[in-house]
Symmetry: C2
Subunit: 152 residues, 2 copies
Amino acid sequence: MSAKAVVPLAAFLLLAPAALANQPAPPPDEPVAVDKGEASFYGDRFHGKKTASGEVFDKNAPTAASKDLPLGTKAEVTNLENGKSTEVTINDRGPYVDGRIIDLSEGSAKKVGITEENGVAPVVVEARPSDQPTEELKRKVEQEAKEPGNGK
Amino acid sequence: MSAKAVVPLAAFLLLAPAALANQPAPPPDEPVAVDKGEASFYGDRFHGKKTASGEVFDKNAPTAASKDLPLGTKAEVTNLENGKSTEVTINDRGPYVDGRIIDLSEGSAKKVGITEENGVAPVVVEARPSDQPTEELKRKVEQEAKEPGNGK
């Protein structure tokens, strides 16, 4: 085989799987639990204390407190002021202020551009069954997504 | 140059840009207008009639009616029952039923799994300034995203 023949063949063989691997997988057909409201900045007053899930609160970890989502849930938080998103694990209960739906650790708040100064931002919180680490959480998030309040 | 040397070089030259091209661009830092509510199926009773934007309504076109979004806006609609998304252009006003935020053409409804039979589904509608086709729409969507109702 000449070099001229080898190049297009190599290109095809190497590009085909690469193109497939880089194509984002279509999201699975599943319900999504979505909530819209305000996110607040957790602050560091709880750093080192225990959260509702029993973990020691680490202000730099990608975690958050939610009123509704089960402990352990993985959720995506998008700041509607700037479109920035981050993934958090729910490890605490709260916030207990009207209109607030999620309290972000300092680390997570920073990722979506919320600082101690601006403090609060409108967000969308999305949880998908297929992103959950356990079968139990998959089921719970599916249930949450199917509740009549979802999408209303 | 031998064939053996040509193959890795060709692979590198061809794969590097391919990998870059397939990487999803990070979304720009911009506000997002998000609404959550029910989507309904437009049906074909309007097929061939004029929409609010002056276009003739085509039930197969990727269009929708919105109460709030400016005519011409491009928006992403996600069905929360199955996670399916589609892009629509707002070309009409409506729906005028409580809790309904968007009326999808038959073509768009099908793409997110809404049929004439199930008729209604909880959805999230997102509009981003950078997706808009004109400067005026970019500005209007930005304004919509910054209104106090967004994220509340």
